[in-house]
Each structure stands twice: as C-alpha cells, then as structure tokens.
Symmetry: C2
Subunit: 290 residues, 2 copies
C-alpha cells in the first residue's frame, strides 16, 4: 500500500462525480481539501489520475483503470458495513445450537419456531451429540449455544440454567401402585432406562449409588419417547422427565410412580463461551428463552 486508504475514498467520489467541487460537497469538505488530496494521491502513486481543464476534470486512462479497483473496494466495504447492520438488527446471521434430541424436541422446539417466525432471515443450524461433544463445539466456536443437562462445569463456559426438570418413575395404566416406593423397592422393579452414555442415566445411577444401590435395567432405549411408550404398554417401569411427559401423564397413558424421597430436581442449562461475546442472534434467542 503506497498511500492512505482515505485518499481512495476521495478519489472514488471525485471520479464518480467527475468534479472536485461536487465531490467536496458530497464529502462535506472543501474543494481545496479534495484538490490537495488528489495531488497527494497522484504523487504517492506516481501516476496522473485526472486531466484538469479549466472547466472541470476527467479521468486519465490510468485513472479509469484504478477506478475500477477502487470502486470494487469501496463497494465491498460498504457491503461489510451493511452486513454488520443487518446482523445487529437480526436481519441476517445464523444461530448455531447444539442440543440433544430430547431437549430439542421437548424444550427448544417451540422457541425455535417462535424465533424463526420473528427473525426469518436468520439461518438456524442444529447439531446434536453428547454433552461433552456439544460443549466442545461451543469451545471451538462451531456452535453459539449448547443446551445440556446440569450439573456440568467448564472453565471457559458460562452455564445459564433455563429449565428445572424432575426425573420420575412411571408405569403403565394397569400397573398397581398405591403407596410410595422406597428407592430399594424401585430398584427391584423391571426397569427401562435410557442408554448408558446419556447424562440422565449418569444422574440416575449416581443418585442410587450414593445409597449403595446399583441399577440393573431390563431394557435400555436410546430416546426418551420410547421410555414413555414402553412403560405405557407395560414393558416395565421407566424413568422419564416429568416435564417432557406431561401430555402422556395427563392422558393417562402412563402413571407417576411415587418415590420417597423423590429424586432431586436437576436443570437444563444453556452453555456459551465466557470470554467471547454472543452473536446477536444467540443473544436474542437466549432472551427469548429466559
């Protein structure tokens, strides 16, 4: 770069209007400033850019060639500024969310729908995996937000709890359960649990382990909805998330199995980078949820 970039802006306007004085008005500076600017530019580049006649100016061949490049550059910068404006006003951008299937289906879906309706020009990108990998996505900058089950810790991340959930045991409608069950009793029932590497499973097993109880499920399934289905057709007792099974509980497809004392509540949190600012889209989505 042989010259100040600002000179190019002056050159651009001057070339556009083919006039020093018009460019001056347009840039809100004096004609004299333009004249000096162009002289400086010409001397920096060692090229005569304008032909000065007593009744105006015109571009030289070299000026015309330069203009093509300068025009392209200025347009590009203007595009950049406009793009940032659009991002700020949520008229463009993307929202990259990492979340498991269960949370997506039962918690995020309605917010995603609303968000998309409000900001239709923001592209939504979903990634789903296990908690640790989703947090990795966020740390690598490949996702803006990750929704994970608490408890969870990470030096680089902020966890913002956004939903309290309760794990409850459920049975089919024909199963007879009158009194509250003790934990030991429940452990002996034919259990249907979510697969081993799910964080819900860890939570459950850790709780029982604290009381010296090991859980040995009869059936393991990969998705939360199957826990409900299997229980409703009396394949066993499932441990499900109450808030995500509301409909089925109300319809009587499954019944809550009283546990004494109940499992402690846990929560779902949204994780994002501590040090990096959230994108405008992510910020808006987070506000929607809270």
């Amino acid at each position: 770069m042989k010259t100040k970039l600002d000179y190019y802006r002056v050159f651009y306007e001057t070339a556009r209007f083919r006039s020093f004085s018009t460019a001056a008005q347009h840039l809100y500076i004096s004609q004299s400033a333009i004249s000096q600017c162009i002289q400086q530019l010409e001397s920096d580049l060692n090229v005569q850019l304008f032909v000065r006649t007593k009744r105006g100016i015109s571009l030289t061949n070299e000026g015309k060639i330069l203009y093509l490049k300068v025009e392209n550059a200025i347009i590009s910068l203007e595009q950049g500024e406009r793009q940032l404006e659009r991002l700020r006003h949520l008229e463009a951008g993307e929202l990259r969310i990492a979340a498991g299937d269960t949370i997506t289906t039962h918690f995020l879906l309605k917010y995603l729908e609303e968000f998309h309706a409000t900001y239709p020009y923001i592209r939504i990108e979903m990634a789903n995996s296990y908690s640790s990998q989703m947090l990795a996505l966020v740390k690598e900058g490949k996702a803006d937000l990750a929704f994970v089950n608490m408890p969870m810790e990470d030096e680089e991340l902020t966890f913002e709890e956004c939903l309290e959930i309760n794990d409850v045991f459920v049975c089919g409608p024909d199963f007879e359960n009158k009194e509250p069950y003790s934990w030991e009793e429940v452990a002996k029932l034919p259990l249907i649990l979510i697969e081993k590497n799910a964080s819900s499973r860890h939570f459950l097993e850790n709780n029982f382990k604290e009381r010296g109880i090991t859980l040995e499920p009869q059936i393991e399934v990969a998705v939360h909805d199957l826990l409900i289905r299997f229980a409703s057709i009396h394949l066993g007792i499932s441990c499900v998330i109450e808030q995500f099974s509301k409909e089925e509980l109300e319809k009587g497809m499954i019944k809550k199995l009283p546990l004494d004392p109940p499992l402690p509540a846990r929560s779902i949190a949204c994780a994002y980078l501590k040090n990096a600012p959230l994108s405008y889209a992510a910020k808006a989505f987070l506000e929607l949820i809270m």
Copy 2:
C-alpha cells in the same frame, strides 16, 4: 461509510496476524496506536470485532464476517496499485492507434513489430478510417494516437510531424519520359489517382487548383498499392508517395516522372490530445518513432 477507511487497513492487518502487537510492527506504529484504532473502529461500527483475552485476541463472528469484505477490498486496492505499476513499466496496458491503411502498411508496421517485441504484454489495437474520423476517435478518448497526413489543424490536438513524404508521378517501365513535365502536361496524361475522399487526393487537387488546373483521372483506386501496380502495367500515370514506393522504384517496376516544379513535400504527423497526458504505452511508442 461509518468510519475512516484507514481503520480498515489496521483492522485487516490485525485480523491477519491475530495480534495487535504483530500488526503494530508490521504497520510500523505502536501497539498502543493499534489498540486505540480498533477501539475507534468498533465504536464507529457499533460492533465488537475482537475478543480480547490476556494472551491475545481473536475475531468475533461479526469480525470474521467483516474481515471477508475488508480483505476483498484491500486486495482490490493492492491489485489497482500493482496494475498502475505495471502500466508504468509497460508490463501491461494497451496502445490504441488510429491510422489509414497506407500509413499503417508503409510506415507504422515496422515500429509496431518492434514495439510488440519489446513490450509483448501491451495489447495493440488498430483502428483505420478517414482522417477526420480518426481525429474524432482521439478526441473521444477511444484512441491514443492518430497518424494523419498534414496539413491538419485542431484546437484540442497536438500534431507531431514524424515523416516527410513526397508525392510523385510514376509510370510503367516502358513509358517514355525524357524531359521534366510541366503541371499542365501532367494533367493531360491518363491519370490514376487515389479515391476522392483520401487526404492525398485533396492535397494533390488543391495544389493543381492553385494553378487553375483541374485533374480528371481516368482511373480511381482505393489503396495506394494499386496505384503502383496499375502504373507498372501501363494503365496510366499514378501519383504515389515516393517513400512508400521505394522498393518498386528500385526494382524498376515503375519510374519516376519528373515534374517541374515538383509537388511540395508534406508530412505525416502523429496527433494526440493536447490536454490529456499520453498513456505510458503511447508515450513509449511515440519515442520509438521519433
């Protein structure tokens, strides 16, 4: 434009090196200057562009988006500057010449060959037409140089004479001519002349008209070479340009017909705009010729 273009250059280098201090070294200014610059840019654009940690910086999403545009702009400007350099060093550019067939063939051709051999990357564009139109091309900026027969005048153009030419009458080898002819005698011979709108024809007729003689050619042709050919096969007496018929005269295909007094010499000139500077290529070509 919401900010000084110069800030973008700082932004560009900073983003490239992902470091304020490295960018500072590269731009030969202090780290402090960079820091202040970026802060100013961020406040002008109302967007955080970098994430500052205690061990360096990284671009935010918005910064990355802006970077793409800024990079494009800077590259474009650098291309422009390089392009100008190439023009200056005759490693690029074009040479647009307007000249008639005769002048092109007998005068310019050898120079064009040499010019192209010396500056192979300069595109050569030829236009040929009548004098007035060629001058118009130059005035419209559609040609850099026009080669025309003198005398010629134009307020906006500079005419630089580059070759003196002599119009002579020639006959075939079998034609008997001993003594010098008077103008009246020549006018009565069976003449072969160039077509009416050629400037050579005007020149000739004006000279004869000054002596009260009107020329009535038996044959008119469009190109100079045919004048020679027709004379050589005894179709009549042609008026040709001595310098452009050298070879045929030396080979004896045609003979000079002595005229007393001879036609005044005239010249070919190169015409270019008075006020606009010549392109580097045109300047080089002109120097080659002179």
